[in-house]
């Protein structure tokens, strides 16, 4: 992907605890931006800047080694949540 397809705070909240990682490779499998690479049965974050914090890795990490504050990066959803006065912006307005 082109270098300018990057956004503010990309990957800032992604935390990987290699101590808990069992090398199952699920994170590598589900990540749509190739943020992880697994070597010697341990996952590593190799492309943090590409992380859009979708949460697929955390969701599928059976070892609980990944934490990330995820959500939909949509300004329309953020604005409508602000107008409703809730700060969670958990769901988007589409569909």
């Amino acid at each position: 992907m082109r270098y300018s397809m990057r956004y503010f705070l990309n990957g800032r909240t992604l935390v990987l605890d290699s101590g808990l990682c069992n090398g199952c490779r699920r994170c590598e499998e589900v990540c749509p931006h190739a943020v992880f690479a697994v070597k010697n049965r341990k996952a590593r974050v190799v492309n943090r800047e590409a992380c859009m914090e979708c949460g697929a890795c955390r969701m599928n990490c059976a070892a609980g080694a990944i934490s990330v504050s995820s959500g939909v990066g949509c300004a329309a959803a953020v604005v409508s949540a602000m107008r409703r006065g809730d700060n969670s912006a958990a769901s988007c307005g589409c569909g």
Partner: protein, 342 residues
């Protein structure tokens, strides 16, 4: 109650046929499917374009055939079944309320709970001998594979991001190449999502046109063809923010979408001021309004991209929205004042 028989009934085979066992799906689209797809891609009737959830067959699948899982947005189902031509497969369609896989996974409707429910409601365990499912990779945001395994015994394999890679993936014994796993956002994909967005702007655009007509009527006592010249900068702003910004996204400067939009609006302002005669106040008003529109529309496009994250969008909305609103407000006041003071 004297005795409980819930343990027994859970093990007994179901007396009723599974409620979500469905028929055969064709892999060929009719002209109505194609017309419907075109319609929803333009943003019309998109919220209610769905297929009944359940287990469908593609070709003539047997007890060892692959089980693919997808969402019940009809455009998604149509895209999937067309790509499955020539294959014998089971297609388990989850009830995502008519929303595509990635968005539904973000909401959790394409999720662990719905997948487990759907496996049970369709009696999938009685239909196939194996215990393997192939899910679209982008469904992973909503599904915890290990929990599905624990609840149903079915192992989840995440297939390619794009369904057009499915036969290659299946032929390679469920191995995806790195390219199949990467989300892209090329100009065709950007244009496709931009068209949906711009349809949603038709109503505010008509309201703006009515406001311009009313302003002309009040300030000059009539409505003339000059209304076209009044509306032209705003129409250009709409097309710039709605189509040009998405197309030029990687080349517009800054990570900020609001800045990208404002930059794309500058040529619109320049051309408008150079080609349409206006007074100073009106020119300033048009300049501010056009910039606010292109900037706001670009900011709203964050939700259509494949790379923005929630905390970043929150940051940008907090920073960019106040100046956009201020520019729009000041622009509107100046544009109205300019119509009276020439």
């Amino acid at each position: 109650m004297a005795q409980c028989d819930c343990g027994k009934s859970a093990l007994a085979p179901p007396l009723q046929p599974a409620p979500e066992r469905r028929g055969r799906l064709s892999t060929r689209l009719t002209w109505r499917d194609i017309a419907g797809g075109f319609r929803v891609r333009c943003g019309f009737g998109r919220d209610n374009y769905r297929v009944a959830p359940g287990l469908y067959s593609i070709g003539t699948p047997g007890a060892d055939s692959v089980v693919l899982v997808t969402a019940n947005y009809k455009l998604t189902v149509d895209t999937v079944r067309r790509e499955l031509a020539g294959l014998d497969a089971w297609l388990l369609i989850l009830d995502t309320k008519g929303v595509n896989v990635w968005c539904a996974a973000g909401k959790g409707t394409f999720g662990t709970g719905e997948l487990v429910r759907s496996i049970q409601a369709s009696g999938l365990a009685q239909v196939v001998r194996h215990r393997q499912l192939v899910l679209p990779q982008l469904g992973a945001t909503g599904v915890a594979a290990h929990e599905v395994k624990r609840a149903t015994g079915f192992s989840v394999h995440y297939g390619p991001v794009r369904i057009r890679d499915i036969s290659t993936y299946l032929a390679a014994k469920k191995k995806a190449t790195p390219e199949m796993r990467r989300v892209t956002f090329n100009w065709k994909e950007r244009l496709a999502v931009a068209l949906v967005e711009i349809t949603g702007r038709l109503r505010p655009a008509l309201i703006a046109l009515a406001a311009l007509a009313a302003l002309q009527l009040v300030s000059t006592g009539g409505i003339t063809t000059h209304l076209a010249a009044d509306a032209a900068p705003f129409l250009a702003a709409l097309l710039t923010g709605g189509i040009l910004v998405p197309l030029l996204l990687p080349w517009l400067p800054s990570r900020s979408f609001a800045v990208k939009g404002a930059v794309a609006g500058l040529p619109v302002v320049a051309v408008s001021l150079a080609s349409i005669p206006m007074g100073r106040l009106e020119a300033l008003g048009v300049g501010l309004l056009v910039t606010a529109i292109t900037s706001y529309m670009a900011l709203m496009f964050t939700g259509s991209t494949t790379f923005t994250n929630l905390s970043g969008v929150r940051l940008e909305v907090r920073r960019a929205l106040p100046p956009i609103i201020a520019a729009a407000g000041a622009g509107a006041v100046l544009r109205i004042a300019g119509a009276f003071i020439r």
